[in-house]
């Protein structure tokens, strides 16, 4: 059954229902949950063992070789940093645009950002020849009088990613605080103390609400340039070097667009799964997918435009070194991957998203999955072919990943899912208070954010009727 915003308003007029439905997943843990965790855990463990083996034997157990010194690891790095643009950026934009349908979406998105960043940031370390001295990237005074080389894009990466990570964590935590408070009120036992700590003494006073609002507003504005800068700098890792088809001015916007593209896709996939497994059909209505789908469509078109622009200019410019790489991907051994990528990023998603009939939840979901795959391939096809065809033909080479790289890659996807599942267990994955506010707004049809504070229930009545709601609903998972 499809639901429209109006229906939501009517169905969810009762806070109890909201509380009940959204706290249920937090309250109880089914056998299925543990099975999933175990499965994902195994894969992650395999990944860590593979990394251990690599540390022990030397980076050579990976498939990288001369001249292709970067392979799966850096591909994953770029890919995951890209995914991380799902949340923060999108939710920030939507917040500022104050799109009503964003309310159930934002948190799912921001969570993706944080975890994707953590995973992505691991890869520069994993791919190092000597990870045990990775700390030399940190500027700290030492008797050698040596500092990091600030001219190196890798050092820029280091700072950019850390900034972004801190930023998006704050951006994630801030709006959770009231919900932590709610959990604190709802649960007893260890959970109460646990959420009590996380709630940072939230009482829901006017001042607190006001502070939260302003903080959120500032963060939303600040985080956007940060997010953009991050993937810009990642793209410069490549664009700054005189390598055929890397040394390109188009890379920064190209990468940012790609990042948002894959980010939205990842978000949609995540939401579909949440909706399905946590029975949040009412809370994640098709309108969200509808809108995100449109966004995805836009990015898909943008992506195709970038790819076309990039390749056309290289073909037309006809510089031997560049064209060699171009043909390697268009006609050479990489052609299959290339056309699969195009299919995944455009061929399949475009009809699914462009045709209204197909832009259903399943439709967008399928499209998103292909996009995620396609974007991973895109990163791979940016990195490997260029390196295997540099200027001196005598030094041309190839690249084959080994089981180590593949295991670690698989582990990161499992790791992402694992973290996500765990998070959903600990925190209401949909922002409860925002939903309530949104609902109240809808009912009073007062769209402006500023109005929210007026519309907000006072502490007394909140806690009052919530306790009521708690009493007369025994369906809430008992602590």
């Amino acid at each position: 059954m499809t639901t429209t915003p109006d229906q939501i308003k009517h169905d969810l007029i009762n806070h109890d229902v909201i509380n009940h439905d959204l706290l249920r997943p937090v309250g109880q843990a089914s056998a299925r949950f543990f099975l999933v965790v175990a499965m994902l855990g195994l894969v992650v463990l395999a990944g860590f063992s593979a990394w251990g083996y690599q540390l022990y034997s030397g980076i050579g157990v990976a498939g990288i070789r001369r001249p292709v010194f970067w392979g799966f690891y850096i591909t994953n790095f770029v890919f995951w940093i890209g995914i991380s643009h799902a949340g923060t950026l999108i939710s920030a934009i939507l917040r500022l645009a104050n799109a009503g349908w964003r309310r159930p979406v934002t948190r799912c998105a921001e969570v993706i950002t944080v975890f994707a960043l953590c995973i992505g940031a691991m890869f520069p370390v994993i791919h190092l020849g000597r990870p045990w001295v990775a700390f030399w990237l940190v500027p700290y005074p030492n008797e050698r009088g040596l500092w990091p080389n600030y001219r190196s894009p890798l050092v820029w990466d280091f700072f950019a990613i850390n900034t972004y990570l801190i930023g998006s964590i704050t951006f994630l935590i801030l709006p959770i605080i009231p919900d932590f408070a709610l959990c604190r009120d709802k649960f007893s036992g260890w959970r109460k103390t646990f959420y009590g700590l996380l709630a940072l003494g939230w009482r829901g006073t006017q001042r607190q609400w006001h502070r939260l609002e302003t903080a959120m507003h500032i963060m939303a504005i600040v985080i956007i340039p940060v997010a953009v800068s991050v993937h810009t700098i990642v793209s410069w890792d490549f664009a700054m070097t005189p390598v055929p088809m890397w040394h390109s001015t188009i890379f920064a916007p190209y990468f940012v667009a790609g990042a948002i593209f894959s980010g939205i896709a990842a978000l949609i996939v995540a939401m579909v799964f949440l909706r399905r497994f946590l029975h949040l059909e009412e809370y994640l209505p098709s309108v969200c997918f509808e809108n995100l789908g449109k966004l995805l469509l836009l990015m898909s078109l943008l992506w195709v435009y970038f790819v076309f622009a990039e390749r056309l200019t290289i073909w037309y410019g006809n510089q031997p070194a560049e064209v060699a790489v171009l043909w390697l991907t268009q006609k050479g051994p990489y052609r299959y991957l290339f056309w699969i990528m195009v299919a995944c990023n455009f061929g399949i998603p475009f009809p699914l998203l462009a045709i209204k009939k197909l832009r259903t939840i399943t439709g967008t979901c399928i499209a998103s999955i292909t996009v995620v795959v396609g974007m991973w391939l895109e990163r791979y096809l940016i990195i490997v072919p260029s390196l295997s065809r540099k200027f001196l033909p005598y030094a041309w080479g190839t690249y084959r990943p080994t089981w180590v790289e593949i295991t670690i890659t698989a582990a990161t996807f499992a790791g992402m899912a694992l973290l996500y599942v765990m998070f959903a267990k600990l925190v209401p994955i949909i922002s409860i208070w925002e939903l309530k506010v949104g609902m109240r707004e809808a009912s009073e049809s007062m769209p402006s954010v500023v109005a929210v504070s007026k519309a907000r229930p006072t502490v007394s009545e909140r806690s009052e009727h919530e306790t009521v709601g708690f009493k007369n609903s025994h369906r809430v998972g008992k602590p």
């Binding site: 034997s57 030397g58 980076i59 050579g60 990288i64 070789r65 001369r66 001249p67 010194f69 970067w70 520069p124 791919h127 190092l128 020849g129 000597r130 990870p131 001295v133 990775a134 030399w136 990237l137 040596l146 990091p148 080389n149 001219r151 190196s152 894009p153 890798l154 050092v155 280091f158 890792d237 700054m240 070097t241 005189p242 390598v243 390196l387 540099k390 200027f391 001196l392 033909p393 005598y394 030094a395 080479g397 190839t398």
Partner: protein, 234 residues
């Protein structure tokens, strides 16, 4: 006056005999990686003799072109290193500081000549082959990038010797192993800041070109192109 070390490679003299390749191995403790790794493209040769065919049978010709680190004045490998492991020395070399290298391999990707080599594993020598190792050159361990150093150890010891004897370095006094061994004298090494040195003269030659000069890396290595045989002195 500060030195600027440079090399001239006469492609007309080079015969592709690979004496330079082995000389370099012997001098610089370059490990033999074995067949499996060699197949994976992990063999290490700081200097290599590139071979390019021209034409088809029966009108075939081959061009041999020794390629080593070009010691660029405007080196792509230097700015990208996050830890200054790859940097420009006072004497115009691209220094590679092993102990500072964390193994990002960024420099190797940036290098347009693909002359940087990486230690994918710890090197190993079956005893007593290790007794040959040159104590003047440090052993590179796993995860470290390495490349031609113009035999900096030879340059340093020559400079120290000259200093003790209170004199200037003579032209061609410090000679990298490859230059020393080259039978047809295709490789010439010297100070480019000394306009009288043989290498500067050759660098000014009309046959002189820079490898991938269009990239603007400004190498300190000059290639003297082959002459075609012409019948004019009949």
């Amino acid at each position: 006056m500060a030195h600027r070390w440079g090399m001239a490679v006469d492609l007309d003299r080079c015969t592709g005999c690979e004496a330079c390749v082995v000389a370099c191995r012997a001098e610089n403790n370059i490990p033999s990686v074995g067949e499996d790794q060699a197949q994976k493209g992990r063999a290490i040769h700081w200097i290599r003799v590139e071979r390019y065919y021209e034409g088809e049978f029966p009108d075939v010709r081959v061009k041999f072109q020794p390629v080593l680190c070009q010691q660029c004045n405007n080196a792509p490998c230097e700015p990208v290193c996050p830890t200054y492991a790859s940097y420009h020395t006072d004497e115009g070399l691209n220094g590679q500081v092993y102990n500072r290298c964390i193994g990002t391999r960024y420099c190797a990707n940036a290098c347009s000549y693909t002359v940087r080599f990486f230690n994918f594993f710890n090197p190993a020598w079956d005893k007593p082959l290790h007794l040959q190792l040159n104590p003047d050159v440090s052993l590179r361990q796993v995860g470290i990038m390495e490349k031609c150093t113009f035999c900096v150890q030879r340059i340093k010891s020559a400079e120290i010797r000259a200093k003790e004897e209170k004199r200037e370095l003579r032209d061609g006094e410090p000679a990298p192993a490859c230059v020393q061994s080259c039978p047809p004298r295709a490789l010439v090494f010297g100070d480019l800041n000394d306009p009288e040195s043989e290498v500067s003269r050759l660098a000014r030659s009309r046959r002189g070109v820079k490898l991938l000069g269009e990239l603007g890396t400004q190498p300190n290595v000059t290639y003297l192109q082959r002459n075609e045989w012409n019948d004019n002195n009949t």
